[in-house]
Amino acid sequence: MPTFEGSSIQAAIENGLKQMKLQRGAVNVQVIATGKKGFLGFGRKPAVVKLDKLPEPAKKKPVATEQQAKSVAQRTTTKSAPVHRPVTAEIKRQKPTQLKATATEVLDRTQRRRSDNAAVLQQLKDYITDICASLKTPVTVKVTQKSGQVIYQLGTDKEGLVIGKHGRMINSLQYLAQTYFNQHGHGKQRIVLNVGNYRQRREETLQRLADKAAMEVIATGKPYLLDDMPSFERKIIHQQLASNAHVQTTSEGKDPHRYVIIAPNTSNKF
């Protein structure tokens, strides 16, 4: 396996081909050193390539060697271009039928998954009703789907019991429902449980709380710590105050005792 030198990789290959008296397609090129141009003749290093003579040149599989040569040429001429490009091109050229087959397969699978997911969401509904029934707080469940989230609207005459102190019950149920879906379903769906208009009421309360706290932070110049909240409630606070240039919000602590800190904005002083 001889190696050859040249001022560039291209030149080194040509040099080698001349000496070995071979065509471009009949060798396998391996770049050992890319070479350096140097500065004013100092620090110049030649490019070094290794040329292997292919065992069966040209005649038996002309297409393959041609393609290989092409891909090698591409690799050497466009140094910065990603090496894998010609390979993928080859795959596309060689296996169009197989690709088509896998595409329909994938489509089938997504369809099956969709119907699976519908069944899982139905089972999840039964799961929630079962739990609430054994808690002696029977509920009726209505399911509505939005993009990326599924809302379970619970109807009951004992709202307070289902919500629990600080919404602990409904949030725990929601977490279990999410866990159930993650185990049995496919893909990503956010499961949201709602009782009456609890979530809407809570959102309004949180927005008011955020605004009030922000006012106080601006007035006193001191950071303000809110109570512990689950992630989706913290998100409401963050969103509410995102447009407020005078304060910044961060979360601290470890779930489930994570809380929002509202602090005066220090990043852009005029």
């Binding site: 089972q123 799961y127 079962d130 739990i131 054994s134 808690l135 002696k136 629990g164 102190k165 602990r168 019950m169 949030n171 725990s172 149920l173 977490y175 279990l176 866990t179 159930y180 185990q183 049995h184 779930d255 489930p256």
Partner: protein, 78 residues
Amino acid sequence: MVDIDHLIKVIVEPLCQYPEKLNIVQHESDRFIEFDLKADPSDVGRIIGRQGHVVQAIRNIVYAAKTNYQKRVRLNIN
């Protein structure tokens, strides 16, 4: 009044791969009514959950249930 044993089963069974191996033993200590939950070793992780969040949610629900015991309920997993 809520049947705690039944409630725990309803909550935990769908989360398990081997629900038939679930076993709940009830006994009384000086301050609590204790429910010892036994499950297949591969299911224990599922019941406890990442950072213990799942078991925390289960306990929240179980402890909130109204019972006619004189003592508080406690749920152990092993």
